[in-house]
Subunit: 221 residues, 4 copies
């Protein structure tokens, strides 16, 4: 999507700069649960390619010992009445705690030592301890993958940069149900909030880093 | 913007429903400061029509005694180093505390008893007490106006619904620098987060309500 | 604990006023999990009396249809490295997800339609969607019970009032491991943040209310 | 305050451990505004000794180039109705925006490049971008000073550690209106949330560090 009129306006406004990547990244995998990745569900779509690309990135990140955090949306029966978002996005009420829809897809399965945060909103940061976890790990760069680009990924990226973390989005690792919102959000994200990069560039960045050394934030015993 | 393929996918996913409006709304006016409303500034654009429409809405809301909250972005010198967002949206560093750019435009001037929240991120809720203020006032519906549609308005709407407030966006009261991101965000917002309505419908809704009676949340003396 | 010198100072400062209770309360039960309520665990203590008093209150609250939210602390293996609090309060690392220590005590067992929030910090609001849930339910009064008075209860009460909710603490429904911190925190809470009341007064308040009618915040279908 | 019975219980529970200090600290100065430091105001008290000790610490921290953040409570007219805390702590309504009470005391005057955050609650983190600022600066240790020990300092320390930052409280740099709550909160803080240290130990820690080098989180131009 080349929106040249918008690019000119944004260039004048001072948008579209690059973030400075650090040497202690973390990987966030947003809502790659079956409710989103299995096209059999009304809220799902085929995200095979994006899952595969994220799998490669997971491997590189784990090889260096950098932290990985997953999110999944899950509602208990009580929350069906209290979550305002479900008025508008009523279909998401199918994401019931304990159901297959809220399990992270096996193609990007979390390891036992990786955190899976349950969330009730669009952003991975809203109503979760994610910002505290990242600060506690002294993360200086957040790589955001997952679904959907125009929904939970975008909301998570906005919160990531607001929370103090320079953010990178590997283009091949974010998926959406619909092509136009996907493209429009990638454009906005790259102009205003994060560096949208080719996954090969992100892989090269991660592979070029020294392995993570567990440092001052650790539990002593 | 009629994106019929996306609409079909979203209909199947259960998006695009309507929110239930309550009888105790509040009006949020996001970033209608000169840095955004004065086209002389690189970060600004002509938002005269949207300011006028918001002015009419302000009048109706105030006539009924409903609360109004404004936001403005303002950075002090110390924050230029600590706000990660300014790496990417570097032009916003011009919004210096104390400058004309951070003053709310006179065409929608806050009254002395209305709160102006200073924010450092995109969302009106991030790093501000807005959610607590709305909960303390028992607000049950949030009307969101301001700038820019694809930036701070969108981020604020996502946080509003995440925070528990059914949200309404009067289409004529939100402005952007660029046409395509504006249209794409209105589409996404209406499908997933808020009712995007004609301002006349929002005016009729507000005018049809009983005036606000200050209730249990008030300071006793 | 009658600290008359402090009371004189606080009276001059304008503390110790009463909150205005509304007609739509919710009940919060903080960390009454076996890790806190079973004295066999190093982090536990005998809280039988407080559990019984909370049980009576639960019954009254449920009889009127008001919402109840529970919290429990639970850490997965990954979080042992990222939660700064575990440096200081290292014993809490025993509260491992999936263990009996993180289950809510059967004496105040949650019903299937009541939410149990998992938290990683002291406050029931930190890193959870509690504030959004309460705002979404238009709660106007929060009754806080649980353990421990000087730890997670106190932190939760401070966040409750900061989040916009007038707060009530029934004295017989909050428990601590140690007598002095318990008494000191009840004193501070009553002076600065919440009404610390006899449980009978809270029961009479709840029983005198009209039953909750599910209203505008509900999911339509 | 030596509460040996409590200490035995806390030792069994695994409390009272030490935090691991890092090499990139920040200093937080909570509410040392005239409303708290000038005994002429009902909400104030004589805090001369604590202001002097904090002044020494400020000098050491600035000499190394570490960040300093100040907070002050200030309410506008609109917020007097919406802040639930003012029901209970009604005297704090005197802290009106624009008045002398909300100015930081000259004895610890902020420099032009240091941030002063306006807050409406007890915690320096609640409704402010403080956590994001600290994460953006890659702070790994927070030194908390200010007033009052049992109120805003305690609430800020609890939020600091919840937000991922190992926290240190120099005993001589925190002040309260009343002796018993001050002592009780220092005891609780040291057991559960932060290292309460002699200011000389904190000075030695800061002076022993390499100066801060502005790093990857900075604005490039």
């Amino acid at each position: 999507m080349v929106d040249t009129a918008t690019l000119a306006v944004y260039s004048r406004a001072g948008f579209g700069r690059s973030v400075t990547r650090g040497d202690n990244p973390a990987l966030l995998v947003v809502d790659f649960s079956y409710g989103f990745t299995d096209p059999a569900y009304p809220t799902g779509a085929d995200m095979s390619a994006e899952l595969a690309a994220t799998g490669s990135l997971l491997e590189a990140v784990r090889a260096k010992g950098f932290p990985v955090v997953f999110t999944t949306i899950a509602y208990d029966r009580g929350q069906l009445d209290s979550i305002a978002w479900l008025q508008k996005a009523a279909g998401l009420a199918a994401l019931r705690a304990g159901s297959r829809l809220v399990e992270v897809d096996d193609r990007v399965a979390p390891r036992e030592d990786e955190t899976v945060l349950v969330k009730t909103g669009a952003s991975a940061f809203f109503g979760t301890p994610l910002a505290a976890i990242l600060a506690g790990l002294r993360v200086d760069t957040l790589i955001v993958t997952g679904a959907t680009t125009s929904g939970c990924v975008r909301a998570s990226v906005v919160d990531a940069v607001q929370s103090g973390f320079p953010t990178v989005v590997p283009r091949q690792c974010v998926a959406d149900r619909a092509a136009e919102p996907h493209a429009a959000s990638l454009f906005d994200l790259n102009e205003k909030y994060a560096d949208v990069l080719d996954v090969d560039e992100v892989l090269a960045y991660v592979r070029g880093l020294s392995p993570r050394t567990t440092a001052h934030a650790e539990v002593s015993a």
